[in-house]
């Protein structure tokens, strides 16, 4: 079944305590070359038929109305799963 992926990230100026905690763990693991971590959300919306422009427009609408709160988050991607997203292809 095809999926539409929506990715949401906290805005840059918003504190991301999860990311901060992970960054702290990386320092303790001696991986301090990764100086910061930010954690966002990925939604996978399954659709029954092929992914059409209408479905993508609809997905963009719910991304901005429900999936993200654009006061604190940015929608950074709405679209078909990219090749790197395909678990079978990895």
């Amino acid at each position: 079944m095809p999926i539409i992926v929506v990715e949401v990230m906290p805005k840059a100026e918003i504190l991301d305590p999860q990311g901060k905690a992970v960054a702290g763990a990386l320092v303790r693991l001696d991986k301090s070359e990764f100086s910061a971590v930010r954690i966002g959300k990925r939604f996978e919306l399954t659709v029954e038929g092929p992914i059409t422009d209408e479905l993508l427009a609809e997905a963009r609408e719910i991304a901005n109305d429900l999936l993200a709160n654009t006061v604190i988050e940015d929608v950074i991607y709405v679209g078909e799963a990219r090749p790197a997203d395909d678990a079978q292809g990895a």
């Binding site: 305590p17 709160n69 604190i72």
Partner: protein, 232 residues
């Protein structure tokens, strides 16, 4: 006066809010998130808790529940609406109030008796206070950091829509120490602290007079109920 208290899946303080309405001289009316029926109430309280487990974002899913379309219509028509804690989060997610609420800047859940200053005594829920009155209201939240873009903050400050401001301690990193705000009309008010937990001697915050004697929260409810009765 009939004051509706909406119960969402995961609401915690709906019964406390109902009791506060009663102590404030009103008739509490239990409302259900899944209904499209406000049962002829004169005012609405959105209580604290963790509606829908705070999934997605605190208040986000509740903001789209069936009864909220009626609440939004009623609020836009001028009905007094008070959002407490999770209720405040639902009001911002419903766009009845501007801005957003994010995780506390220190990352921890906070629970304390919080001193506030009442900076707007013209709203439906604060008209019984004196200008700049200092009050103690219990606060308990994990995601209570109020944020908004600079234009919104400037507008809120300029128009007097900051109704309650944290004093002495900013418990969650809120912008401008904002504890609660109103819409432009003053009928919709949201705040993170819990006035319903400071309405009955013996169960409120400590005061200089006696332990657990604080009842500053009662004025929220008497404000709305008495102004509704005056206009009835």
């Amino acid at each position: 006066m009939r004051v509706g208290v909406i119960t969402f899946p995961g609401s915690l303080d709906d019964r406390d809010a109902q009791r506060a309405v009663k102590l404030g001289g009103g008739e509490p009316v239990a409302l259900w998130h899944g209904d499209h029926d406000l049962k002829n109430v004169d005012a609405i309280v959105l209580p604290g808790g963790f509606s829908y487990g705070d999934y997605l974002r605190a208040g986000a899913i509740a903001a789209h529940s069936p009864i909220m379309s009626e609440v939004i219509t009623a609020a836009n028509a001028g009905m007094p609406v008070l959002g407490i804690c999770n209720g405040f989060q639902i009001l911002v997610e419903s766009h009845l109030l501007p801005g957003g609420l994010v995780r506390n800047d220190h990352g921890d859940f906070v629970c304390r008796d919080q001193k506030l200053r009442v900076e707007n005594v013209d709203t439906a829920w604060s008209n019984g206070f004196k200008e700049d009155e200092e009050i103690i209201i219990p606060l308990k939240n994990g995601e209570g950091g109020y944020i908004a873009d600079q234009n919104t903050l400037d507008r809120l400050e300029g128009e007097g829509q900051v109704v309650f401001r944290y004093l002495e301690v900013n418990p969650n990193g809120s912008a401008n120490d904002i504890a609660g705000i109103s819409n432009a009309r003053g009928n919709v008010v949201g705040l993170m602290p819990h006035p319903e937990h400071a309405t009955e001697p013996g169960f409120g915050p400590d005061t200089r007079a006696a332990m657990r004697s604080g009842t500053d929260g009662l004025t929220f409810f008497t404000s709305a109920i008495s102004s509704l009765m005056a206009n009835a």
